[in-house]
């Protein structure tokens, strides 16, 4: 699994769960909050992405993540484990 693939999956889920983003390019250096996500939206995006990628990261390890790129790194770490 590549990091590009992971970012692609996260970006698709962001577009699917949030309003008015159909034609936007998701910038990985941004936070989901920048795209209007509230905490419930973020749980939805993270959970759907993990399910699709078939990985499971404890929520406690996600607390300090600041942007989509860092989330992808964390996913990659667990995909390789």
């Amino acid at each position: 699994m590549t990091k590009e693939k992971i970012i692609e999956v996260i970006a698709e889920n962001i577009k699917e769960n949030l309003d008015d983003l159909e034609n936007e390019t998701i910038d990985p250096m941004k936070s989901m909050k920048d795209y209007g996500a509230n905490s419930l939206d973020m749980i939805e995006v993270v959970s759907c992405s993990m399910r699709e990628l078939n990985i499971k990261v404890p929520r406690a390890e996600l607390a300090d993540i600041e942007n989509i790129d860092q989330l992808a790194d964390k996913f990659l770490e667990h995909a390789e484990a």
Binding site: N38, L40, S47, R51, K56, P58, A60
Partner: protein, 419 residues
């Protein structure tokens, strides 16, 4: 998962990918049956063998023993659930009306005592009208879901109760969460909602931290943006304000708050919830608030007892005065021990332990075995770096019980944290 099983929490099993819809996620059972995880869950659903007074008895899940305990976990802030006059009134209503209301309020469930109680609550809260719900959770869900629609905006404090969030989800309105009690963040969210029908939702006393909503500033901002205000006074009704009407009275902003929610299970000592607002909005809610429309009306015995509870708590200030006296004493002594009580301003006193779930559980067990029932509050209910105990101070506490409590906390928590 085997090597990091203790890093998981309930937050991780919300989505279920098991193809068998009648089973939990595959790894949920592995997790919940791990001995350490199982032990931490044994603190929950322990049976009380007597009334939820301060002085009661527990059947401990930890070692199967029956144990006399000082209970600082129940929300019986004013001791009304066992007040002799309240119990007597409940018995009389039970004798007259029986156990249940046998119908939804709209069709046949409304009894004269429900109408009387709703009227008295509206008078107490100085609003035009009141609607009664059979559960507090249902009251919050029902009010938000009944008032808000797709296209509307809910601007909520991030620490709002689950019932308010669920009501928001059900309503279809867009939910924007502002950083807890942060006026800059509130303004940013109000800016995003500008021009839409917007309701600002806050709690009088926040249940995990015991701090108060900054009502004067919140009212100023909401008014500036033309938003309505909803306050959840679950942990403040009968306790805050000169007449016990809550945090809105405490800050002198009752006229500026459109909708006031209260629960009947905490200071009131019964069960249920209520919404006070203007007459037209209450009439509208009766058409669209599902937990009212499609639930059986409250049990008459409970409503009969609650009418008396309202009378007892408001005929003078003795119960809340005693509760405040006890709160001041506990808070002063806990602070003297250098414990972290967060920003509490109420009878809800958190004792913040930090990021160690293991310490939290060890302390909880030792305290319970020493005779103090103080439930641990773990992640994800609170942030992982501020796991805590949450003390509910009651007017029922005697001097001796407070001193015993403090000495157990000192022995178990303070001595260990120093070492």
């Amino acid at each position: 998962m085997a090597n990091n099983i203790l890093n998981f929490s309930l937050a991780d099993f919300f989505f279920n990918d098991n193809p068998d819809v009648l089973s939990p996620p595959d790894d949920f059972s592995e997790w919940i049956n791990n001995p350490v995880v199982k032990h931490s869950f044994s603190f929950f659903e322990q049976e009380l063998l007597d009334a939820p007074r301060v002085s009661t008895e527990i059947l401990s899940n930890l070692d199967g023993q029956r144990r006399k305990i000082i209970n600082l976990t129940s929300y019986n802030y004013l001791g009304l659930s066992t007040h002799p006059e309240v119990v007597q009134a409940a018995k009389e209503a039970l004798d007259k009306y029986g156990l249940g209301s046998s119908g939804a309020p709209l069709l046949s469930g409304t009894l004269d005592i429900h109408t009387e109680f709703a009227r008295k609550l509206a008078e107490f809260k100085q609003k035009e009208d009141c609607i009664l719900y059979s559960s507090g959770f249902g009251g919050n869900v029902g009010a938000i879901q009944g008032m808000m629609r797709k296209g509307d905006y809910l601007v909520m404090d991030e620490k709002c109760h689950r019932s308010l969030v669920d009501g928001g989800t059900l309503s279809g309105a867009k939910m924007l969460f502002f950083a807890h009690n942060d006026m800059e963040s509130l303004q940013m969210m109000l800016e995003k909602a500008k021009g839409k029908r917007t309701l600002v939702v806050v709690e009088g006393v926040y249940s995990m931290d015991g701090d108060l909503a900054k009502m004067p500033e919140i009212c100023d901002l909401a008014e500036q943006y033309g938003a309505g205000i909803f306050i959840d006074e679950a942990h403040s009704t009968l306790m805050f304000g000169e007449h016990g009407r809550g945090v809105a009275e405490h800050f002198g902003v009752e006229d500026r708050v459109g909708v006031s929610f209260g629960t009947l299970s905490k200071s009131f000592g019964g069960v249920g919830g209520f919404i006070c607002a203007n007459k037209d909005l209450i009439r509208y809610l009766k058409g669209y608030s599902s937990p009212w429309n499609f639930s059986c009306a409250p049990s008459p015995a409970v409503s009969g007892g609650l009418i008396k509870a309202l009378e007892v708590a408001t005929r003078d200030s003795s119960l809340r005065d005693k509760m405040w006296e006890n709160t001041r004493y506990m808070k002063k002594n806990l602070l003297d021990m250098n414990l972290d009580l967060g920003g509490t301003e109420s009878q809800v006193i958190p004792i913040i332990i930090g990021n160690s779930g293991e310490k939290l559980m060890t302390y909880a067990e030792k305290m319970q075995k020493a005779g103090l029932f103080l439930q641990p509050v773990d992640f994800p209910a609170v942030p992982a770096h501020s796991r805590r105990f949450r003390m509910s101070v009651s007017s029922q506490l005697t001097q001796e019980e407070m001193d015993t409590t403090l000495s157990i906390i000192e022995d178990v928590i303070v001595k260990d944290m120093k070492s």
